[in-house]
């Protein structure tokens, strides 16, 4: 009997308290404790997702390519005038949509994580943060696919693939962190009020037009629009990593840094929101 686990679990009405950093540390500890499970849940869903599709794993490659296709198509038709890009437009847009995809993917996977695991919430006692964190595996996987595709397209476009490509993932990290923070908050609040996720998606659907994802910011001649774009912190989170990747000089380093710090703060807030509200979601699933 000495091997028995003596850990005591106590549930009360308003369990979770403590500052933002303590909450974050505790959350990371819980995820780490259940890392095996997080990984297994990811591989389970990953395998299940592709077992029944004809194209199988090829879908993860096809997704990002289809994402950029519409912009390239519009560009070739002359509907879209993105400005003067330093590399061929398809590559420029692909890097932009990949970066944007990091953030949107993080929001999407994180925010739907709890809903997707509603059965486990109701029937097991796995910490909810661990269930939500299983989305990180998805996010990481998709990011790796995007990175490989970017390298491939750069080589095909005869663009120099250098040190920038190695630094690029780290520079893209704030977008993932920002998206995860927003996603974590939506994942709990969105279960209580279902339309929150829709609102946020609509919001970012508009934001892509105010962020130089598939166009060049400096070639926007409307002064008001240009000013809004330059006020948008997402601009720097997209612009700076792309400049570094393409070995272009960028004057945005300090603004990028500020936006990156803000992203991490939003991530911490997202964890805190998640922690504060998580025990209210089970009855709304």
């Amino acid at each position: 009997m000495s091997s028995r686990n003596e850990q005591i679990t106590i549930y009360t009405a308003n369990d979770r308290r403590g500052g933002i950093l303590r909450t974050a540390v505790r959350s990371f500890q819980e995820v780490w404790r259940f890392r095996q499970l997080v990984w297994t849940l990811f591989s389970r869903d990953f395998k299940a997702q592709f077992k029944q599709s004809i194209l199988g794993y090829f879908w993860t490659v096809l997704g990002p390519i289809l994402g950029v296709f519409s912009f390239v198509f519009m560009n070739y038709m002359g509907i879209l005038n993105p400005g003067k890009t330093v590399v061929p437009y398809p590559l420029y847009a692909f890097i932009g949509t990949s970066l944007w995809g990091f953030m949107m993917g993080s929001i999407g996977y994180m925010s739907s994580g709890l809903n997707a695991h509603s059965e486990l919430i109701m029937r097991t006692n796995i910490p909810k943060i661990a269930l939500a964190a299983s989305a990180f595996a998805n996010i990481t996987y998709n990011a790796l696919v995007s990175l490989a595709l970017i390298a491939l397209f750069m080589v095909l476009s005869r663009v120099h693939l250098g040190l920038g490509w190695l630094v690029f993932p780290f520079l893209a990290l704030p977008l993932i962190v920002l998206g995860s923070g927003i996603g974590l908050a939506i994942s709990v609040v969105g279960i209580i009020a279902r339309d929150i996720a829709k609102l946020v998606n609509q919001f970012f659907g508009l934001m892509i037009f105010l962020t130089p994802v598939f166009f060049v910011a400096d070639d926007i001649h409307n002064r008001l629009l240009h000013r809004v774009i330059m006020l948008n912190p997402l601009t720097y989170l997209v612009e700076f990593p792309r400049s570094v990747l393409l070995s272009q000089p960028s004057g945005f380093a300090s603004l990028y840094l500020a936006a990156a710090v803000a992203s991490f703060l939003i991530f911490l807030i997202g964890i805190k929101v998640f922690d504060l509200v998580q025990d209210l979601v089970a009855e709304r699933l």
Binding site: M1, R4, N5, Q7, I8, I10, Y11, N125
Partner: protein
């Protein structure tokens, strides 16, 4: 730590919104309060909310098994979910020591497209096992579930019995300190159910605490050593399993009686119009009871049947086992009725006309000559032998000289016999409705006959017939 409890529930309260819209509104408000650093609003009921659990407390120790019973909507599942940490309390606390294995639904988290083998791995992790533990116990899990040949087949192709067997086998193999079981034992064939019970007793002997939610008095009686009865969120506290069975059965009997009243007896109010019934109305009554709850020739009318206390003749709907029951018949006689006979029959839940209470026989052919007017007839059933349950009363008025009913009214009233405190009617689950006291004694031992016709045990042969 003080005490050696494994589960401690301390004045637990939990409320819910009755409507989806209210739940949305209050969910948003509570989430808002939390985000502003305040507690959720859990002290009082807001409009549209109800208490699903009220002030539930109990404590369990190593090796103990608690059965939780209650009719649908009594709060069992809510309590189990609070114990599992799915819902958070509104007031009070739940404390658990050690690893909690939950069989809230065996096979929760099974992925239909993956094989049984992969699912054992995933489910083991979900229940808190380490990969090494899962590998060590894998063969035992599979063999207990009896799925050796099918373990590499996708779970999608399993039967529901196979799924539950595998889920149960995993959960009980995690060596939980506390095991929460929700009615899963009803699935699976008899042989597997037997093995489940053996397994549950086994893990109790190893010191695990078991909490079993069930609708089966028999299952709880054989598995548990104490019980908790829930009725609309109010708990009985920890009671003996016999008491739990009593409380649960009584609740079911009461509900059955209420249901019967609702379905059959509203006609009484409709018939109240017959109070001073016209000739036409009386003449148009249905003559025989082909599906009709009341009818007759119209010469007389049973306006009301009351079930009463035999001392005070006040309304009463519940009686102890064997206690005298009073019946009061309110009659309106339209035409003179010589040689009238009053008769009751009683229906049990699943049988009709289980007994007869008849003025002609029971009163030694006392026949009543009735003139037009209103009468009240009181009957005392002296020592009824109804087993605990819910019963309906049928009443009719006949006449010695007429083969048929002057008036009949079926399911005119109902009463409940409470499960007795001094004896345990385990046959409650069986459909018997009448009980006779009896003595059992071993009068003589007969030796068993061997297959060749000679007597077997000689030790018995000498004592027989001496």
């Amino acid at each position: 730590m003080s005490g050696d409890w494994t589960v401690r529930v301390d004045s637990l309260w939990r409320k819910f919104g009755a409507s989806a819209q209210g739940a949305l509104k209050y969910g948003v408000i509570d989430a808002g309060r939390r985000l502003l650093g305040r507690d959720k609003d859990s002290d009082h009921l807001r409009s549209g909310e109800f208490w699903a659990l009220q002030d539930v407390s109990f404590e369990l120790h190593r090796g103990e098994a608690l059965g939780i019973m209650g009719v649908n909507g009594s709060g069992k599942t809510t309590l189990l979910r609070l114990l599992n940490g799915t819902y958070s309390p509104d007031r009070g606390s739940v404390s658990l020591r050690g690893r909690v294995g939950s069989l809230i639904a065996a096979g929760a988290g099974f992925s239909p497209l993956l094989s049984g083998r992969e699912n054992v791995h995933i489910n083991g992790l979900l229940l808190g096992m380490t990969p090494a533990e899962i590998r060590r116990r894998f063969d035992e899990i599979v063999s207990f579930a009896g799925l050796e040949e099918f373990i590499d087949m996708p779970v999608r192709n399993y039967s529901s019995g196979m799924t539950v067997r595998l889920g149960f086998s995993i959960a009980t193999n995690t060596a939980p300190d506390v095991l929460l079981v929700d009615e899963v034992l009803a699935v699976g064939d008899l042989a597997f159910q037997k093995r489940c019970f053996d397994r549950m007793l086994g893990i109790r002997r190893q010191g695990s605490t078991v909490i079993l939610v069930s609708h089966s008095v028999g299952a709880v009686w054989s598995m548990c050593d104490s019980g908790l009865f829930l009725n609309r969120g109010i708990s009985s506290g920890k009671v003996s399993v016999e008491e739990l069975g009593r409380l649960y059965d009584l609740q079911n009997f009461r509900n059955a009686a209420v249901q019967s009243r609702k379905e059959n007896q509203q006609e009484l109010t409709a018939d109240a119009a017959f109070d001073d019934a016209s000739e036409d109305a009386l003449a148009s009554l249905p003559r025989e009871h082909g599906g009709n709850l009341s009818g007759g020739t119209g010469d007389a009318l049973i306006k009301k049947i009351r079930v009463c206390d035999t001392a005070s003749w006040q309304d009463r709907s519940e009686f102890e086992f064997g206690e005298a029951i009073g019946l009061e018949m309110h009659v309106y006689v339209a035409k003179p009725v010589p040689e009238a006979i009053f008769r009751y029959t009683v229906d049990a839940a699943s049988y009709r006309f289980i007994c007869n209470v008849d003025s002609a026989y029971d009163d030694g052919l006392g026949l009543f000559d009735l003139a037009p007017g209103h009468f009240i007839i009181r009957t005392t059933i002296e020592a009824p032998r109804f087993t605990p349950g819910s019963f309906d009363v049928n009443a009719n008025i006949c006449q010695k000289s007429f083969e048929g009913h002057l008036y009949f009214r079926h399911k005119a009233a109902s009463f409940v016999i409470r499960p007795p405190k001094d004896r345990f009617f385990y046959e409650l689950a069986s459909p018997a409705v009448v009980h006779f006291d009896a003595r059992f004694e071993v009068a003589a031992s007969q030796p068993l006959m061997a297959a060749d016709g000679t007597t077997g045990g000689s030790a018995f042969a000498t004592s027989a017939d001496t």
